[in-house]
């Protein structure tokens, strides 16, 4: 059981890194608390695999510290760190039975046979592998194999964390949700820190209590799935989370009005004030498609936009709009009226975010 702390951690694959671009992980501080279910989410190339390998101990970070319960483990190899790992492609010992696979980590350290038996049965029961115990691991399906490789981590009492490296890549789609639920259940039962690396936001948000979104070697936001959705604190998180991603409008203050390109926006005074106070020229207003108010007829304080396309997805529709030159997307639920050629939009102030140099600043509202 352990709390994993990353302190001033940075890593580069080059022997002499010069520019920030040479770093796979840029200097970061982070804490994974004992017993949490975490996801490490990001597009490929963002450094999440590198970070996972640093935690597991295969890579030694270029600088900074990895602490397990306050103890520095930078140079300890994986076997000395008491972590378990589930790989992208299932790793099982083909020639052994499921029982022997699960018993393997215990037998390697000379655990008495009685204790081994007890633990194996217990873990097999949780993982629903009891019926397969006598079978050769070679003949299992991919999802059963992943369960076995997870089980090898669970049988040990001394495992402080289980790391998952995109574990559902080779699992059939209809089995994925089942296995995800199983993971969640195991997490509740065993009180083990779990870190789950994925590029799939749905996987991340169903598994994890808190998600760390990585972008260009840094954790840009660490929060619950809801926080990531409602208040992404970096434009990247806005783009990456949600489907479709967040709308961003580059804004500026001209002649006392908030404008985006040639369009003058009608926004609440609080937004106006926030834009006026910002000290940068890189300003963006962000709003989720879910929160854009779309009216089929003119309403007060609304902006008129052209409807370019409507994608009907059953319970809701995605409407592509053009406000002046700016492309926007909005989500309209099935019980709401769909606009035809024209639409009138409103941006509710409590749903708007102002991004200064790509980072979110809070807009005070009552």
């Amino acid at each position: 059981m352990a709390e994993i702390t990353l302190k001033g951690l940075a890593h580069s694959y080059l022997p002499q890194p010069t520019s920030p671009g040479d770093y796979a992980i840029r200097e970061m501080d982070h804490v994974w608390q004992q017993g949490g279910a975490y996801a490490l989410l990001g597009p490929s190339g963002c450094g999440k695999s590198t970070l996972l390998n640093i935690i597991s101990g295969l890579l030694e970070p270029s600088s900074g510290e990895v602490l397990f319960d306050g103890e520095r483990v930078n140079s300890l190899p994986p076997e000395a760190r008491n972590i378990a790992q589930v790989f992208q492609f299932p790793v099982v010992y083909d020639t052994m039975t499921v029982y022997d696979n699960l018993a393997f980590p215990l037998r390697n350290v000379g655990t008495p046979a009685g204790r081994v038996h007890e633990r194996v049965l217990e873990v097999a029961d949780v993982l629903e592998l009891t019926a397969q115990l006598k079978r050769k691991a070679k003949n299992l399906t991919a999802d059963e194999k992943q369960k076995v490789s997870m089980g090898r981590g669970l049988v040990r009492d001394d495992v402080s964390a289980i790391l998952f490296d995109e574990p559902l890549t080779v699992i059939d789609p209809q089995l994925k949700w089942k296995l995800r639920r199983k993971l969640k259940e195991i997490h509740r039962r065993f009180n083990i820190t779990m870190v789950y690396v994925t590029h799939d936001q749905l996987e991340a948000s169903t598994f994890a209590d808190k998600i760390a979104v990585m972008y260009e070697g840094q954790v840009v936001q660490f929060g619950t799935p809801r926080e990531l959705f409602e208040a992404p604190n970096h434009t990247f998180v806005g783009y990456f989370i949600g489907s479709p991603g967040m709308n961003f409008l580059e804004v500026a203050l001209r002649d006392g009005r908030v404008v985006s390109g040639a369009v003058s926006l009608s926004v609440a005074p609080a937004v106006h004030r926030a834009v006026a106070e910002a000290r940068s020229t890189n300003l963006k207003l962000g709003i989720r498609p879910e929160f854009v108010e779309v009216h089929p007829a003119p309403v007060e304080d609304a902006m008129e936009a052209r409807v370019e396309d409507v994608q009907d997805l059953g319970t809701y529709a995605i409407v592509q709009l053009r406000l002046g030159e700016i492309a926007l997307k909005a989500r309209v639920e099935e019980d709401e009226p769909l606009p035809e050629e024209r639409a009138w939009l409103r941006f509710p102030v409590e749903r708007l975010g102002l991004y200064v140099d790509e980072f979110r600043v809070e807009i005070p509202h009552e």
Binding site: A24, N53, L58, L59, P78, Q88
Partner: protein, 297 residues
């Protein structure tokens, strides 16, 4: 070891594994590292020693060879090599060997490619039995076929020609080629064929333009094996030839002259038979590691 920025998760995993292996090697006790290297060096020494001795002999004059034993040539001479390279009865042996080996490689690979494709892609009447029968030819001891081959090739007028040996070596080389190629071809997803046919490729065009490039490393490995087994075989090759197409191996038996065996020339000839092999291995060295599993790991 290249150190660069990995961009895909796979590349990250590879780099991590490599970094870990490096650290682990460095952390290993020095005694164990040296034990590994020592054992490997001992084996390499075992491989090289007889070859070195052959090389040593080939540069000594016959009087030095038969005199006191010397660990390296005291009286360095190229006379044996000169003799082989200027005497047509000697160097024609090499030409003959290379001629039938190349002919055999061409024949074998060109009939084996379509056959291997058929075995890897289709089921048909008698496919399994046919495949098994093919493999049995791989097991046929050349000694069994010695006499019938002699009679057969004599009857059809091919005796003492390169074609005769090239055809005789087809006995084991074609089955070998089919077997190796089938392994590589089965590794190519069938969807590739289907897509190509949907795109309007005719079978021959698909085979030459798309399929063959895809298994090029497999073809390379197959050619390597074909060369190897045709080059090293002697029993059939020497039985089916007399003077016109005699392989170097049987020319070497002529060194038993009136004054006993001409050790120096025998050694030089031996050294020259090793060279083509080394050249071939050098070219395929980067594929051997993968190729030797014959597409079957």
């Amino acid at each position: 070891m290249t150190r660069s920025m990995p961009t895909t998760p796979d590349a990250v995993r590879k780099q991590a594994a490599a970094a870990d292996a490096r650290r682990r090697r460095e952390a290993r006790p020095v005694s164990r590292q040296w034990r590994r290297r020592g054992l490997m060096a001992a084996y390499i020494l075992f491989v090289l020693l007889p070859i070195y001795w052959l090389l040593n002999m080939s540069f000594q004059s016959n009087s030095e060879i038969l005199g006191a034993l010397t660990l390296w040539p005291q009286d360095f001479t190229l006379e044996h090599y000169t003799r082989i390279l200027t005497d047509s009865s000697w160097y024609m042996g090499y030409v003959n060997s290379i001629a039938y080996v190349v002919m055999n490689m061409l024949i074998s690979i060109s009939v084996a490619l379509p056959a291997a494709y058929a075995f890897s892609r289709y089921r048909f009447i008698g496919d399994k039995h046919l495949f098994f029968w093919l493999l049995t030819n791989l097991m046929a001891p050349p000694a069994v076929f010695l006499l019938p081959y002699f009679q057969l090739y004599y009857t059809v007028g091919l005796f003492d020609t390169h074609v005769a040996v090239a055809l005789a070596h087809c006995l084991f080389n074609i089955p070998l080629a089919v077997w190796i190629l089938e392994g590589f071809m089965s590794g190519v997803p069938k969807e590739i064929d289907e897509t190509a046919f949907i795109d309007g490729y005719s079978f021959p065009r698909f085979f030459v333009k798309i399929f063959i490039p895809m298994i090029s490393s497999g073809i390379g490995v197959t050619l390597f094996f074909l060369f190897m087994f045709s080059w090293v075989e002697l029993l059939l090759a020497s039985t089916l030839t007399s003077t016109g197409a005699q392989p170097i191996g049987s020319v070497m038996t002529q060194t038993k002259g009136a004054s006993g065996i001409d050790w120096g020339t025998l050694s030089a000839a031996g050294v020259l038979t090793i060279l083509p092999g080394i050249i071939v291995v050098y070219f395929v060295r980067n594929h051997i590691a993968k190729g030797f599993a014959l597409g079957r790991t």
